[in-house]
């Protein structure tokens, strides 16, 4: 219920439009119910005329004009009603969508670690659509339909109590029946949706895993899997549509049966002389009028049920609080010198499973620190704590002596740059992707940054150069190119503190060289934390910090640590060296090959 109230609050924000929609609807009802009355009185006049032998032409003309006039009024009112309710729903959805977007983009990494993009997207698409339908159908139109049913019912009873009762006796049953079937239909369709999703997965995996399928000669196996699911889907769909057919047929027939009885009993009364043919006709016209609102009312219960579950899911996300919150007294951190210090920092993602314990680290401005250690030792976590993607659980981190939590997020993050190895590209031009953090950067600045990042040469060789579109609908860049684009982004932002993820998968030696060169340039003059895996980066660092299980076990320069024969030595032997032993994919010059083969 709370969920529905919250949606209502969004709707009430447009109180004038809502009031207008209700007023127009109310006027629509008046126009609606007057028509059968006019039809009936026309019939009665003709009937009387036949009995008396004379008919007032002018009266008939008046009725005809009234019908036409009422038609015009009713037409305009139904336009107004439809437009007002649909556009109101659209306004509500527009606002919710904006809020959802903004809320989600401010939620911390901890939230996004747990939520799949697909899940958030289906909240934004399916659930927001359910809310739109709820506002349109239930909030704005349901009162209209219910009032219409009530008004017509009263008019029918007022017209003739006995005949009216006959006409209305089935109504409550039809309403209840339609509501129940609609709710059952909802469950049937939910099943269909789930199976549709499964079929999608099978298909998608079959296509993207086509090499595996072909390598195992598994096409028959896959075909059976697909057909089984496809039949299941179609069976469930059949059941759902069967319910729909049941509902439609039954509501339709119930009205016909009612009309049949009204015809029988009303006809007898006309023969008795206690009813005019015009009133009988009016009754039948009224019954015809009822069928649409009754059919739609059945949908309202389902509509509310759907909005409740959809809204519940959606608001759960919109209520989620970010783990990383800005203090109300947060100050703007000016450009830092880059003195980063960890004071007995502790952190964990899940309670009772500490990732970092009691860590102290003091890095002077401009120094390069290599973070090294086996997977799960806390390298990435340390890097993520500096720009406050997560908050420390114990202890504190300071930049130039200021606790991170005392600075605004924006000013802090402006001071800390990130170079990721598998960086996200947006569907935009290369230029805009490089300038992502500084949309106002000039073209010269962008080119300068990509020159330093060793990327300019490649971009310049593309037919559209810096205007080439990247991302889903554009071209893709190789792993090494992406990494250099990330470097270019960082150069443009020029942060005093830099975090570099260097756990690259293997690239050819030329790329390797270019990346190394780009990295060396970008690190200059900045406090740099390198999450390192390759020997070449590690041995250039001022300090190597060797981590294990969230604590620093060794710290010092390359030679110093090698001589010590501790964990660094072990990692060096086990991990770094075999990795370098891998026979890399070399670019060999033609001359060399020719010479060697000859």
């Amino acid at each position: 219920m709370e969920v529905l109230l919250r949606i209502l609050r969004f709707t009430i924000a447009h109180k004038w439009r809502l009031t207008l929609a209700y007023l127009v609807s109310g006027a629509g009802i008046a126009a609606y119910v007057l028509l059968p009355k006019l039809f009936g009185s026309a019939i009665d006049r003709v009937d009387m005329g036949l009995q008396t032998g004379t008919i007032s032409e002018s009266a008939i003309l008046q009725i005809a004009l009234a019908i036409t006039g009422l038609g015009v009024v009713r037409g305009l009112l139904s336009f107004g009603q439809t437009y007002l309710s649909e556009s109101l729903a659209q306004e509500v959805v527009y606002k919710i969508r904006n809020r959802f977007y903004d809320h989600v983009q401010h939620l911390s990494f901890a939230f996004h670690d747990k939520q799949h993009t697909g899940n958030l997207m289906s909240r934004a698409i399916t659930d927001i659509e359910a809310i739109r339908m709820f506002v349109n159908l239930t909030v704005v139109r349901a009162p209209y339909f219910l009032l219409l049913i009530a008004t017509v019912s009263v008019m029918m009873l007022h017209l003739d109590l006995q005949l009216g009762l006959i006409g209305l006796v089935l109504l409550p049953f039809v309403l209840i029946f339609a509501s129940i079937v609609r709710v059952r239909m909802r469950f049937a369709w939910l099943k269909v949706q789930a199976t549709f999703g499964e079929l999608n997965t099978i298909l998608q995996e079959n296509l993207s895993g086509v090499r595996v399928v072909k390598a195992f000669g598994a096409s028959d196996f896959e075909q059976k899997k697909f057909d089984r699911n496809s039949s299941k889907l179609s069976e469930q769909m059949f059941k759902a549509i069967q319910l729909e057919a049941l509902n439609g047929s039954t509501v339709l027939t119930a009205f016909l049966v009612t009309i049949g009885f009204v015809l029988l009993f009303g006809g007898m009364r006309v023969i008795d002389g206690t009813l005019t043919p015009g009133v009988l006709a009016q009754m039948i016209f009224f019954l015809q009028l009822l069928s649409q609102p009754v059919r739609i009312s059945g949908a309202i219960v389902n509509n509310m049920a759907r909005a409740m579950s959809a809204g519940g899911r959606l608001f759960e996300i919109m209520n989620a609080r970010s783990d990383v919150e800005e203090s109300s007294r947060a100050l703007v951190l000016p450009r830092a010198r880059g003195h980063v210090r960890f004071h007995s920092v502790g952190f964990e993602y899940k309670p009772q499973t500490p990732v970092i314990t009691d860590l102290d680290l003091d890095v002077d401005p401009g120094k390069i620190v290599a973070l090294l250690g086996p997977p799960g030792s806390g390298k990435t976590t340390i890097a993520n704590l500096i720009p406050r993607f997560y908050d420390v659980k114990r202890g504190r981190i300071t930049i130039d002596g200021t606790d991170l939590r005392k600075a605004t997020l924006k000013s802090l993050r402006a001071n800390v740059g990130m170079v990721q190895q598998d960086v996200f590209l947006f569907s935009d031009t290369i230029a805009q992707n490089i300038a992502y953090g500084r949309p106002e950067a000039t073209m010269d600045e962008i080119i300068h940054a990509s020159e330093i990042a060793q990327l300019h040469e490649h971009i310049a060789s593309l037919p559209d150069g810096y205007e080439t579109i990247l991302g889903e609908r554009g071209i893709t860049l190789s792993g090494g190119q992406r990494q250099r684009l990330s470097i270019a982004r960082a150069i443009l932002l020029d942060p005093p503190i830099l975090i570099l993820d260097d756990s690259t998968s293997s690239v050819d030696s030329k790329t390797e060289y270019e990346i190394r060169k780009a990295m060396e340039t970008v690190m200059e003059g900045r406090t740099t934390f390198v999450i390192a895996n390759r020997l070449s980066t590690v041995h250039k660092a001022d300090t190597i910090v060797v981590l294990n299980a969230g604590t620093i076990v060794e710290q010092g320069a390359h030679q110093e640590l090698l001589a010590k024969g501790g964990l660094y030595r072990e990692i060096y032997d086990l991990q770094l060296r075999p990795q370098e032993e891998v026979m890399m994919e070399f670019d060999v010059s033609d001359d060399l090959v020719a010479e060697k083969i000859a």
């Binding site: 079959n206 195992f216 729909e244 043919p277 990130m418 990721q420 996200f424 075999p578």
Partner: protein
Amino acid sequence: MTSVATRAKRRYRSADEDVEMFGSALDPKVVRRMTPYILPQKKLVAIAVVAMLIFAGTQVAVPWLIGTAIDEFISSGNIFGLVVISGIFLTNAVLTWISNFVQNIAIVRAGQNLLVQLRGDMFSHLQRQSLRFYDKTEVGRIMSRVQGDVYQLQEFLGTMVMSAGDFLSLLGIVVALLIMDWRLGLISLTVMPLLFVVMALWQPRAKKRFIKARSTISIVNAALNENISGVRVVQSMNRQEENLGQFDVLNKENAESVKSEIRMSAGLLPVVDILTSGSIALIIVFGSRMAMDNTIEVGLLVAFIMYIQRFFDPIRHLTMQYTQFQRAMASGTRIFETFDIEPDMVDAPDAEEMPPIRGDIELRDLSFAYDPGVEVTKSVNLHVPAGQTCAIVGPTGAGKTTLVSLIARFYDVGRGRGQVLIDGYDVRDVVRNSLVSQMSMVLQEPFLFSGTVRENIKYVNIHVSDDRMVEAAKAVGAHEFIDKLEDGYDTYLEERGVNLSVGQRQLLSFARAIVADPRILILDEATANIDSHTELQIQSALRTLLEGRTAIVIAHRLSTIRNADTIIVMNKGELVEQGTHDELMDGDGLYAHLYHMNYAVLEEVKGTGTEPRSDQMSSS
């Protein structure tokens, strides 16, 4: 300085290029291609058509029955007659229920049968396509064919029935009006031309706005999706404000275009209302005169009013369905276009089943080109006796992957361009499945399916016992971590195993290869970064995997290369050297050079470090 709005629009302009959504309303080509799918359903379709005719009849009968009851029995005081006609009316109501229900389920049944058939055919058509097809076609595009377009056709089938029903009732109403009284009938139809003019003007405009609304919402969703996927970059670069500004522009544009679409579609309501009431007014004016002349009676007037009230609904529906028809035809065209792509690799009609193989591989003078004229392998000759391991090394683009793809018959070598022989059989002369089911391939990037660990290890070989599966997992050292998973072998791997590390996925794909117990194993060694513990496990798993099988390995690890029975060095599609490690090192060839160059890089990095203990991996 560009404004937020222009930046936003420019950014997503590419998302706006929606696929062609509309075809002509009834494309004979599509209809012809659909026929073989419709024919098997002819019984159900016949039932549906009969039911539909009955249903339309019952609907048209209602006003007529009411009019007749009033004119024939009520006005003459014939109670018996009234009871009889009321009985007929109620029977008609029951008939309405039956015919409506039957037409609906018959057509849904037929439609679903048809769709299962069509989807299945589409899937098997895709399965028959060679890798050439998949190299060129995006997965997303195929997905939208099989799901989106087939779904459109399904909608279309439903719409077609409704349209037929609507058309029949329209026809029935016109006929009934003219039969009951042709003069009054003609009068009530005078508004028709006006309606057609309005509809003709309205339809294209409504369609245009409909398309606009659809494309703006797809842009909104694309923008949202991207922001969620890239949220880490967004936050680290402080882009939230700028992005919200851009999103608001797109979101607002969508809201506006939807509202404009509603204005257009709701614009039809007054037209219909005005024409209906105008027509009824005419009937009342002329009908009352005719009644006074005794040419018609009151009941007929009632029936006419009822008919006119029912007259406009079918027309309105038909107009909307027209759009649906066009979309379905566009979808149909795309579906059959996909069907028209001939698989470029099919088994020969006289292809034999491959008998159990020993594993002797021979390549004779093998040349291959993906694109004509650009040879990727050039006259390669190679013989790998059964049970031996052959390592392939060479620079990027040397043709290593192509060579193994040809052995697994992912592509066919042109006749006269050399041969791939397995146990002396030319691979093009045998049924592909019978051959590849005796081989296994482990790819560089391990690919898992959504499903349990068990399903992934067994994969095609579902009949394999659990004991053998566990044995395989143990052999590659995967059992240990599988056992630690929440549900062991029954653990469900979400989204292709995102909950596992790369190394673990690699070990699972090794286990899958062992369960298949192939005579020939093709392996593209992984180069991704794996932690040292898993790396050691993979090294030892590899040895188990290669034991007693013919193996072709695209090798990156020195240990694998050194242990191979024979090493071939490829460059630019040619096999330039062949021999064991020691043999190749003795010479002064490319291999020896690559080897030394590799070490030179290492030495430089290590400075005065330590001597490489390169034997550590291979001898352990």
